[in-house]
């Protein structure tokens, strides 16, 4: 609960500071601050249709990928590979959706989503196995798998999945019957948005209330204690968490293909997997709070397009703002003096190799400081 309150505080801080930062940047680069900001607002929240078709739709892949990152970080896994997992998920979903007959309808769409989940999970499993069996740091392997996934997608849309006319590097369109249904007629608000919000709430419940969720959190917070004091099979928990994380990102890619783009493109993701890190952190790795933080970033992106269109402000400026939001959050943690999400982002790493304990523990010096407390 405390985390949710803190996350709400962060969201406000992030919102205010990003608007302030943006205003400053606009002013510095000589754009009309008021006009640009109002274009941003109109583009993000100006009307129901803008909110539904723009902000919410933009926020959806960020939320899926953000949940993937939050889940992995909570388990102590530094999955920087949401981008690649999202792309493989999108590719698999596209492959299934354009192959299946239109007559399958919603069931076909569901199959495509399943394919995305599977592919994303498998892509993460590569990094998970590399970490567990071969000791390759997941930070490095997932970065590489991202590039490989991007190139594989590039190959697919030029090769086996290229459109029948073979003109552009993109796949054929998914048949209308196999697309995710629209939630509100006249908007682009698709069923995937609800699925994302549902996933966030379900993940929050899973972590808080279930025994496997508890095992995952304890493994992330201190793998050795989880194994020794809790009898938890930490390698198994990490492996499953890593795969689940990839599956969530893969689902995000599949939803994007079946709900928004209806086709596979090379540049399907403008870096959702990286923005996801900011989404997850802003939410203090809390899945339900991630709904809010994905909305903030979705609004920024949607607003940025409007700003570019209406006030000719380069959309890249929003990237600057996003980066500054992250840096402000990190700095506020430092200024506050207390580790907030920095602490929950545990860097436990894989379970330690078995071996004799170090001759001294940090506990001794910590105790040196704290024993007078005990007496007081």
């Amino acid at each position: 609960m405390r985390n949710v309150i803190r996350a709400a505080g962060d969201l406000t801080l992030a919102g205010v500071s990003s608007i302030g930062m943006l205003a400053l940047l606009l002013w510095l680069s000589g754009y009309p601050v008021g006009d640009s900001l109002s274009a941003l607002w109109r583009g993000a929240f100006g009307s129901w249709s803008v909110l539904a078709s723009g902000t919410l739709v933009r926020a959806t892949p960020m939320l899926f990928a953000g949940l993937a990152v939050a889940l992995a970080f909570r388990a102590g896994i530094l999955n920087i590979g949401a981008e690649g997992q999202l792309l493989t998920g999108a590719s698999a979903a596209a492959a299934v959706a354009i192959t299946l007959p239109a007559s399958m309808g919603l069931a076909g769409a569901a199959l495509a989503l399943c394919a995305g989940v599977l592919a994303g999970g498998l892509w993460a499993a590569v990094a998970a196995v590399l970490r567990q069996r071969f000791g390759v740091l997941e930070v490095i392997s997932t970065i590489m798998l991202n590039v490989i996934a991007l190139n594989v997608t590039g190959l697919l849309v030029r090769g086996p999945l290229q459109e029948a006319t073979r003109t552009f590097p993109q796949s054929d369109m998914v048949d209308a019957a196999l697309r995710l249904p629209r939630l509100v007629a006249g908007t682009r608000l698709h069923a995937g948005v609800a699925l994302a919000i549902g996933s966030a709430l379900a993940l929050a419940w899973f972590l808080r209330a279930t025994a496997p969720g508890f095992r995952l959190r304890m493994t992330g917070a201190n793998p050795r204690a989880a194994a020794s004091a809790g009898g938890i099979d930490v390698s198994r928990v990490s492996l499953l968490a890593f795969i689940a994380s990839g599956a969530l990102a893969g689902l995000g890619g599949a939803v994007e293909v079946t709900g928004v783009t209806y086709a596979l493109y090379e540049n399907l993701s403008p870096g959702y997997g990286y923005t996801a890190i900011a989404v997850a952190l802003l939410a203090r790795l809390n899945p339900s709070a991630a709904i809010g933080s994905a909305l903030v970033f979705g609004a920024l992106e949607a607003g940025a397009s409007a700003m570019q269109r209406d006030a000719q402000v380069p959309a890249g400026m929003v990237g600057v703002v996003e980066a500054c939001v992250i840096l402000v959050l990190v700095a506020s943690e430092w200024v506050g003096g207390k580790a907030g999400w920095g602490r929950s982002l545990n860097r436990g790493g894989p379970p330690q190799q078995f071996g004799p304990a170090a001759p001294h523990d940090d506990a001794a010096s910590a105790a040196d400081r704290s024993t007078s407390e005990a007496r007081a």
Binding site: V136, V139, I140, I143, P314, G316, G319, V321, E322, A323
Partner: protein
């Protein structure tokens, strides 16, 4: 196969490898001090723009210098947050990359207009080494390259000497292995890490400058195209050693040069295969050597420097 395409291929390999080598050398130093800077991509792209902007008025040599300084500037932000405030390095680095990409995209439009007009910068021409450049096949690749290539190659032994043969190199490596021990030995770990990160930024900026001033001749949004991440792979494949980094950079350079070779030979092979191949190779190499053990022990650790 005739000699010409092969010579072209080798020349292109070294050319493609040069920015990667710069970036990887800088990142090797940073990682050896225990700091993983995922913001390298940001340093490269600001180097690109600074190189272009300066080169149009002051010439390409000044452009290269400006590129390096721009890299230092953005690395300084990383250093303040990730070292000064002991924030998570991966998160900070990700933010720095976003910052660099966003900032250059914005600035480019602000400076040169909305059209993003194809602005071309004066470039650094290849400098031939008399006689040696005439060597068949290899001559052009090794001895007829623009200034940055020679600079990058000269940097390899220099960095090696620094890391393994000097007191400050010893301190730097010790900081990357055990910052608390370094501190207790009278070393200032944060200062060392800051220097290492700034050096990494310098090299990243030079990589960007090389890209614009010795290769492309113009700027495009996002033209760094993931080279910062490639460099991180190269550092790992090179086992955190400058000489290893050189070999690995060359390998990645060859992979991207293969597409030119195949074009020259009119072979219809999708180039993505060759772009992805070195990453696969790196993963396999890391897996086979159990990469973890070659990495500095304190790599990426928060509050690594204790205080």
């Amino acid at each position: 196969m005739t000699a010409a395409p092969l010579a072209d291929f080798l020349e292109a390999s070294i050319r493609s490898a040069t920015p990667l080598l710069f970036a990887a050398l800088g990142e090797t130093v940073a990682e050896r001090s225990g700091v993983i800077n995922v913001g390298l991509e940001g340093a490269i792209i600001v180097g690109c723009l600074a190189g272009l902007a300066t080169s149009t008025t002051l010439g390409p040599e000044a452009g290269l210098l400006a590129a390096g300084l721009a890299g230092v500037a953005i690395a300084a932000i990383f250093a303040i947050v990730a070292i000064g405030m002991a924030a998570d390095q991966i998160i900070t680095g990700t933010a720095i990359t976003m910052l660099g990409l966003g900032l250059t995209g914005t600035l480019y439009r602000v400076l040169y207009g909305d059209s993003g007009a194809a602005l071309s910068a004066p470039t650094l021409e290849p400098l031939g080494v008399p006689a040696l450049e005439q060597i068949p096949v290899l001559g052009r690749a090794l001895f007829r390259q623009p200034l940055p290539t020679y600079l990058a190659l000269a940097l390899v032994p220099a960095v090696w000497w620094w890391l393994y043969r000097t007191q400050s190199g010893l301190s730097l490596r010790a900081t990357g292995e055990n910052p608390a021990a370094a501190l207790a030995s009278g070393i200032a770990p944060r200062r060392i890490q800051t220097v290492a990160v700034l050096f990494g930024g310098l090299c990243g900026g030079l990589a960007g400058g090389t890209l614009v001033l010795a290769q492309v001749g113009t700027f495009a949004e996002g033209m760094s195209a993931g080279r910062g991440f490639v460099a991180i792979a190269i550092v790992a494949l090179g086992r955190w050693n400058p000489v290893g980094a050189m070999m690995a950079a060359l390998l990645f350079g060859m992979a991207s040069a293969l597409q030119f070779l195949f074009q020259a030979l009119s072979l219809d092979v999708p180039y993505q295969i060759f772009l992805a191949l070195p990453y696969l190779l790196t993963l396999v190499a890391l897996a086979l050597t159990r990469g973890r053990y070659a990495a500095p022990a304190a790599l990426g650790s928060r509050n690594g420097a204790a205080r």
